[in-house]
Amino acid sequence: MLIGISEVEAKVRIAKRIAREFKDGDVVNLGIGIPSLVSDYIPEGVRVIFHTENGMLGAGPKAREDEGTPDIIGAGGVKITVLPGGSFFSSDISFGLIRGGHIDVTVLGALEVDEEGNLANWMIPGKLIPGMGGAMDLVTGARKVFVATLHTVKGRPKIVKRCSLPLTGKRVVNKIFTELAVFEVTPEGLLLKEIAPEVDVSSLKRVTEPDFKIEEPLKIMEV
């Protein structure tokens, strides 16, 4: 890792940074992996309504061992709780909420994300083909799509010029959050909004495949 923090620390940093993006009352759907950590770090005073694709609004924290039931689970299959004001519904309604533009933000992981905002996160041909689950609907229908990803994996950039893997969605990503930077996807390409305190722009460029513009003044990421 470029900045001498562990992978776990890097993931927590990304989750914490994304958690600061939300406004009180935002309806948010979190994918599996790094996105699922985001709910642990919502700032005090901000009430986010979490949606799970299997049919629930008002998803709460993980259930205690003795209280959990398979009848209330998160999208990753973990037994969770429902908060006061929550609701349960069937899959058509759940995806009506998604596709119909009623979810403010979805946070998803990436195998690759590129400068046009294309996202690939559902298959590696010939190797791993889990399926798209709800991801294609989420990137199509959520008002904003955030990608949460480590900046590099085994030294290879996750942010690429063009995705080479099959896409989950075309020109769908709004913002990319890594342990090193925050980028906005604009019609002109990537715009660097924030940079981690441990790196400078030239070292960031070495681990980011596409060119990017830099917002002035460039913010230092709060970590």
């Binding site: 049919g55 009848d71 349960f88 899959s91 759940s94 399926g131 798209m132 709800g134 020109r171």
Partner: protein
């Protein structure tokens, strides 16, 4: 359909007329809302060459994932197979046909099949493999994929409670695809944890009207 009161059957009796080659829908999302008892009966029954329509193929040792591990399935139509190692393996070896459908599209295709619609138009999947081989229509300047309805010979669904007329009440987010599948199959078999007398479920709380249900089975879990 048929009788006013719906027959309450043993799981074995309820699935025994499912023939080789049948198309079956199975409710559930991951571990929630899966008709586990009916699946066990199907495993014993040994029926083969099934086409399985489900959200995900569960795990190789859990729920309908076991049907795949047991070699009873020839084709899967699902949004996700990643948690079932056997599905992955058989698919990679070319021994199992898998049609991947985005989850929201799967819900709408089943709904269309059960609601008498000729298809649905969705933007989901545009510019991806999900668009391949499908008709794309432009409506008011926006592009949509035409997705066709899905139906099955049998639907195996799971609810919390049924009354003798087959009215169903679900609990938690275990509802998922179950109410949709109740519309979209010729024979609907509902597995429930509790069977109550007619009138005991408040009409306001009936999520699936009993006229859609053909057989009732009590859960053995």
């Amino acid at each position: 359909m048929g009788s006013f009161f719906k027959p309450v059957m043993s799981p074995e009796e309820a699935v025994k007329d499912i023939p080789d080659g049948a198309t079956i829908m199975v409710g559930g999302f991951n571990i929630g809302g899966v008709p586990y008892t009916l699946i066990e009966a199907l495993l014993q029954h040994g029926v083969k060459d099934l086409t399985l329509i489900c959200n995900d193929t569960a795990y190789e040792d859990v729920g309908h994932g076991k049907l795949i591990a047991n070699g009873q399935v020839k084709k899967v139509i699902a949004s996700h197979i990643g948690l079932n190692k056997v599905t992955q393996k058989l698919y990679n070896e070319g021994k199992l046909d898998v049609e991947f459908v985005p989850q929201g599209t799967l819900a709408e295709r089943i709904r269309a099949g059960g609601f008498g619609l000729g298809g649905v138009l969705t933007p989901t999947g545009l510019g991806t493999l999900a668009e391949e081989g499908k008709q794309v229509l432009e409506i008011n300047g926006k592009r949509y994929i035409l997705e066709l309805p899905l139906r099955a010979d049998f639907a195996l669904i799971k609810a919390k409670k049924a009354d003798r007329m087959g009215n169903l009440y679900y609990w938690g987010n275990a509802r998922n695809f179950n109410p949709l599948m109740a519309f979209a199959a010729d024979v609907v078999i509902a597995e429930v944890e509790e069977l109550v007398e007619v009138g005991e479920i408040d009409p306001n709380d009936v999520h699936t009207p009993g006229i859609l249900v053909d057989r009732i089975v009590l859960s053995r879990r």
